[in-house]
């Protein structure tokens, strides 16, 4: 049953896309691509549900030979364990909901069918990634989701910002992917396979490595993690994700919140067995830093989608942190809960934007065909109203674009307010999600998953008595507080208070059923009780990490390594499962048998406190307005600027390039006009403006030049010989006779 089910899950969306592609080649289009894609996704969802029933404690692997070269074989196959099953369910479910939501949201778009086809392709790729049992398959899915992300971010490619953003997304993630590929090469060279599981799989082979290989293995692990850094938008490759909000909001919900960006976490979790102490720590730090950096940036955003985007980055950092400290189950659990509430938040914001957007369309009496071009006009109109004057400091040179400083009016929270009456369903559902992400205790799933991670970090810190981990715990806690703060800031600014833009407010309305139903479903999923149904934690077992050794100074022996399974997870029956497993393996003997470690209790208390503090501050600032955001911002101006400028990451990437560009402009003035007008962000521009021009120059002048010089010399010699041929016969005779003399003399000497 497993193989046909998985095949069906994969093939349905693929078929939906293929039909679109083939018809497109024939220059036709299927009129009801939306229903087709949605149906395909629903079939997938049903199959995933069935599959959940099929999953047994023992994972299943099904492979087929993909490439066989003599002794080496690359296989493609499914690896199905509980994690896979859960991921399948999450992806199909969120995807289905987003499909349904999009039917309403995207209605009237000129490329409406294409949108659904791309969504289908994305779903296929994501599912393929999830079920793959080997690194090559994961990499294939990995890149394919990247492509879909590219296509969907750039869906409204007439907008320059969208065109830039999609390219930036692809390139930035590709930088990470290359790291991942190098890691794969290292593993392949060592093990001669890219399969992860089974007798000849990487995990089995890696288990027998000795300590001498640890440095190597750590490097490989970190390199593989590079892929996750790119895809999951971890520092320092996180800058693409906020820009990716240029895509339609359902895309942001599906790809850039719930699924694709979580693939990095999934990958890291999959690679769990080969993570060493060092690589784990690197992962944990990257996760921790990302969590706090993104959260602080989110505080000062006004674009509703960007707040959510930074929130996503921050939460992904959380998950990474969880994996990095060995809280495998917690990390994955947070992944799933986050998928739902973040999708909900995005869809909710989409609902809001849609409400405003529809108003725009009416107000300007535009045909739908050009609806989205309005963004451009309004960007400029709004630019002057922008309260943040310092924005212009960077806005005046033409090289820096589209880092979120220009907010579309329908996404600007400063235009919103008081919407809770206009859009009750949206409001309620979003509030639930916000409560969940903020970690409001007990009723909401987010609390449990976040707490599990916090507990895991603290537990590791206490076990190993590790300064690193204490530090990480502090970061995580701080991030949790900030999260609560900015999420409630969003809610207060959007739904509470007085409408700031009355005209827009008047036009706003609740979204159609196709959009609200998915919101409601997702809202239901934000409650832990529901999650209990599908997060069958009995079967989510952390794999062993044979190469994770506790440091020397740890006061707990490696044997007692524990899993993040405090109260939170025990609620879901995890601890029993783990205990049973550990007892069976007889390797980990710890207090799990008699409850949970104190770390989790401490963590829980602290997290509730910071969340409460965050919400309180938010309420004071943005609802009661007892405290003034302005004055605080003014008193912490440097810090505020730092956050506002997103830690200057984009400016850094650009600034280096600007310098180089100026230098280059002096050098290659003639190239300037043609080169500068296109804008490539990040590394792309560095290479283009500097290296590429230099290399192109080199190619024309030097390589060709040498050849030309040889040719010129040849010609010159030809001309010289010609000149000897003076036409005067006596010159010829002289040459003859002198030639004779020379020949004789030369050969006499020989």
């Amino acid at each position: 049953m497993v193989v046909p089910l998985i095949s069906l899950i994969l093939l349905c969306p693929l078929a939906a896309f293929a039909i679109f592609g083939l018809l497109g080649l024939a220059k036709r289009s299927f009129p009801r691509q939306d229903y087709l894609s949605t149906a395909a996704m629903l079939v997938g969802f049903v199959c995933s549900l069935l599959l959940l029933r099929e999953v047994v404690p023992n994972p299943e692997t099904h492979t087929v030979k993909w490439i066989s070269l003599g002794s080496i074989t690359f296989s493609m196959g499914f690896y199905l364990d509980s994690v896979t099953a859960i991921m399948l369910l999450v992806v199909t479910l969120v995807s289905s909901l987003v499909h349904i939501f999009s039917i309403g949201y995207m209605h009237g778009d000129p490329r409406y069918p294409r949108f659904f086809a791309f969504l289908s392709l994305f779903s296929f790729s994501m599912l393929f990634l999830v079920v793959s049992d080997n690194l090559l398959g994961i990499y294939i899915g990995w890149e394919l989701v990247g492509l879909c992300s590219y296509l969907l971010i750039g869906f409204w490619f007439e907008k320059d910002s969208a065109a830039n953003a999609c390219k930036k997304a692809f390139l930035t993630t590709r930088v990470g992917d290359v790291g991942m590929f190098i890691g794969m090469m290292m593993l392949f060279t060592k093990f001669k396979t890219l399969s992860l599981y089974g007798e000849g799989g990487i995990f089995t082979l890696a288990a027998s490595l000795n300590t001498g290989d640890m440095v190597w293995l750590s490097i490989a692990g970190v390199l593989i993690f590079c892929g996750a850094v790119g895809k999951s938008a971890q520092v320092p490759l996180h800058t693409w994700l906020p820009d990716a909000m240029e895509g339609p909001t359902p895309v942001s919900a599906l790809i850039h919140a719930a699924t694709m960006v979580a693939a990095g976490v999934y990958l890291t979790a999959r690679m769990f067995p080969i993570l060493t102490e060092t690589s784990s720590l690197v992962i944990a730090y990257i996760g921790g830093i990302t969590a706090i950096v993104a959260a602080t940036i989110a505080i000062v955003r006004f674009d509703i989608k960007r707040v959510l985007a930074y929130s996503t980055v921050s939460q992904l950092g959380y998950m990474m942190l969880g994996i990095g400290v060995g809280s495998y189950v917690a990390g994955l659990f947070h992944l799933t809960t986050h998928a739902f509430f973040k999708a909900l938040l995005f869809l909710g914001s989409g609902s809001v934007i849609h409400a405003f957007h529809a108003m725009h369309a009416h107000a300007h009496d535009d045909e739908h065909d050009h609806a989205h071009e309005d963004h451009d006009t309004h960007e400029h109109a709004h630019g002057d109203d922008d309260a943040h004057g310092h924005d212009h400091e960077h806005g005046d040179h033409d090289l820096v674009h589209a880092h979120g400083s220009e907010i579309p009016p329908d996404q600007d929270m400063r235009n919103m307010g008081g919407l809770r009456h206009k859009m009750p369903i949206t409001f309620v559902t979003m509030l639930i999600a916000t409560l969940s992400i903020s970690g409001v205790p007990f009723v909401f799933s987010g609390f449990w998953s976040k707490d599990a991670i916090l507990g895991g970090v603290l537990e590791r810190a206490m076990e190993w008595n590790s300064v690193h981990h204490y530090l990480l715990f502090g970061m995580a806690l701080l991030a949790a507080g900030i999260t609560a703060f900015y999420m409630f800031r969003l809610i207060f600014m959007t739904f509470f208070g007085e409408p700031r833009n009355q005209e827009m407010h008047n036009m706003a309305h609740e979204s159609p059923l196709s959009m609200t139903v998915p919101l409601l479903i997702l809202a239901v999923l934000s409650f832990p009780v529901v999650n209990k149904f599908w997060f069958n934690a009995d079967y989510v077992k952390p794999p062993e990490q044979p190469h994770l050794y506790a440091p020397q100074h740890a006061h707990v022996s490696p044997d007692s390594k524990t899993e993040g399974k405090g109260f939170a997870l025990s609620l879901f029956g995890v601890s029993e499962a783990v205990a049973a497993e550990e007892a069976g393996h007889d390797t980990h003997v710890d207090g799990e048998h008699h409850g949970h470690s104190p770390a989790h209790d401490i963590a829980m208390v602290l997290s509730i406190c910071v969340a409460g503090l965050g919400i309180l501050l938010s309420w004071l600032f943005y609802h009661r307005r007892t405290l003034s955001a302005e004055s605080v911002a003014n008193s912490f101006r440097p810090l505020y600027n730092l956050f506002w400028h997103k830690y200057y990451f984009d400016e850094f990437y650009d600034g280096v390039l600007v310098a180089l560009t100026v230098w280059k402009a002096r050098l290659f003035a003639q190239f300037d006009g043609s080169v500068v007008d296109g804008i490539v962000n990040g590394v792309g521009r560095l290479t283009r403006d500097f290296l590429a021009v230099f290399v192109g120059f080199f190619d024309n002048r030097v390589v060709d030049g040498i050849v030309n010089r040889v040719a010129e010399v040849t010609w010159a010699v030809g001309g010289r010989i010609r000149r000897i041929q003076t036409g005067a016969i006596q010159t010829y005779l002289f040459v003859v006779l002198a030639g004779i003399v020379l020949l004789i003399l030369i050969f006499r000497a020989l």
Partner: protein, 495 residues
């Protein structure tokens, strides 16, 4: 092998005798025919060439039984080598006669003299290919030279033709005088004019220290001046671009193919029969000297051809370069090397004559010898243009045309003897040569031209003659005839 007496030799000498008879007949017929435009004279010479051809075959296969015979008390030799060259030269002469028929440069009123001279020069070249005595070598060379001077200056009221003749004779006289001086030294050392005898005597004298290597070196170098000027090798090549440019086109073609072939025949026989012994080569490493001369020749020829605008002059330099390639085969002292020369000469005959034939046609129809005159030929006369492409590409040595196979044989032979540097020089030269051949192709195919220019039409006969050159140029390489040439060359290889 006892040389035959004068009377006995006559039978074997029938081709040469026939040539003289027909030359006389041509002159007589010219006197008889009243119509100055009549082409009877030309056809008579063609018939004569046909008869001579038959005679060559008969004397070779019937009388000689294909064994080498020494004639006229050792003055000339009839062997496969000379027969090969006779056939080659006959083909070249016949082609020249046909070219001349179509050429509009030549004065029809002088055709009696013209064709008689052609037959006479053929006689001289026959002798060049078969002489084994110093005196005969010199006389045959002079016969060919003197006749060439006259033919080069045949356009009596064309200053360029006269200039060509003047330069040619000045150059030739000095070169042949130098050669005669060298021959006199050889005679003085060996006390005999017979090549075989010279070889034996010189070996003895060198061994006994009676003769210094320097004397032999000087003699050889002086002789090389005469031979080298015939094959236009550096530094004796300088006459050829001017003469080729100034002479009537059929004569240019003839000189570049026939005269050069005869020069090679003489060159091979002289050096191989006279100086092929190991002792001699130890004393005077003439093969190495020739290797250097060869490398210089092809390099100079190719480089100087690069900037040329006149197609005839360009082909003259190309012809010099080909002399250099051919000379490579001459330094090897192997049957393969000589065989390669012989094969290349056959190939060269077809491709070079073909190219010159196109030049004749274009000169007639377009009235220009300059590259610009070839513009747009691809549309004005596509068949001729494509034929020219085939000739030029073959000259450049690109497969699958015959020129490639010729070069292939040469380079294989050269490499076999370990002259890697020479082969490399040769090959790089052939790359350079492509460039100037391509300039003509470019003019014909790639350059824009005056649309007003009318298309040029040619008679069927023209195309027939053209195909006589085109078809061998395409096909010779694919025939299985390489062995034949190596076998022929064995006749002159000292063993």
């Amino acid at each position: 092998m006892q040389p035959l007496s004068n009377i006995e030799s006559l039978l074997y000498f029938s081709p040469e005798i026939l040539l003289v008879i027909f030359a006389a007949a041509v002159v007589l017929l010219d006197l008889v025919v009243k119509d100055r435009e009549s082409i009877a004279v030309a056809y008579l010479s063609l018939v004569g060439l046909g008869c001579v051809f038959a005679a060559v075959l008969i004397t070779h296969f019937s009388f000689g039984n294909a064994d080498p015979v020494s004639l006229f008390l050792g003055m000339v030799r009839l062997d496969e080598f000379s027969t090969f060259f006779k056939i080659l030269l006959l083909l070249a002469t016949a082609a020249t006669v046909l070219f001349s028929l179509r050429s509009e440069e030549l004065d029809a009123r002088l055709q009696g003299e013209y064709y008689a001279l052609l037959l006479a020069i053929t006689l001289g070249m026959f002798l060049m290919a078969s002489s084994t005595n110093l005196l005969m070598i010199f006389i045959s060379l002079e016969t060919v030279s003197l006749t060439s001077y006259i033919l080069a200056g045949f356009l009596t009221h064309n200053p360029r033709s006269s200039e060509a003749a003047f330069k040619y004779i000045t150059y030739g006289a000095v070169a042949s005088g130098t050669m005669l001086f060298g021959l006199s030294f050889l005679f003085g050392m060996a006390g005999s004019g017979d090549l075989g005898h010279i070889s034996v005597r010189l070996t003895e004298l060198l061994a006994s220290g009676q003769v210094s290597p320097l004397a032999v070196l000087i003699a050889i170098t002086f002789v090389l001046a005469g031979v080298g000027y015939k094959i236009a090798s550096v530094p004796f090549h300088m006459w050829s671009p001017d003469v080729y440019e100034g002479a009537p086109i059929p004569i240019t073609a003839f000189l570049s193919v026939a005269s050069k072939s005869a020069g090679f025949a003489l060159f091979i026989r002289f050096f191989y029969a006279g100086f092929g012994s190991t002792e001699l080569m130890q004393a005077v490493n003439w093969p190495f000297m020739l290797a250097i001369v060869s490398a210089l020749t092809m390099t100079v020829g190719n480089l100087a051809a690069l900037p040329q605008q006149n197609v005839k002059r360009l082909l003259a330099y190309s012809s010099i370069a080909h002399g250099g390639y051919l000379l490579m085969g001459g330094v090897l002292l192997s049957a393969e090397g000589v065989g390669a020369i012989l094969f290349y000469l056959v190939v060269y005959l077809f491709m070079n004559l073909g190219a010159f034939y196109v030049v004749v046609l274009i000169a007639n129809e377009v009235g220009s010898e300059m590259i610009e005159g070839y513009r747009g030929l691809s549309s004005r006369a596509p068949l001729v243009a494509w034929a020219m492409v085939i000739f030029l590409v073959s000259l450049a040595g690109i497969p699958p045309f015959a020129g490639f196979f010729g070069k292939w044989l040469l380079f294989t032979a050269v490499l076999e003897q370990g002259y890697y540097w020479l082969a490399l020089v040769g090959l790089l030269n052939s790359v350079v040569s492509l460039y100037y051949y391509a300039r003509i192709v470019k003019a014909m195919f790639l350059e824009d031209y005056d649309e007003e220019a009318t298309s040029v039409s040619f008679s069927t006969g023209t195309f027939a003659l053209l195909s006589v050159f085109v078809i061998p140029t395409i096909l010779i390489g694919f025939l299985n005839i390489f062995y034949t040439f190596s076998n022929i060359s064995v006749a002159v290889i000292p063993m």
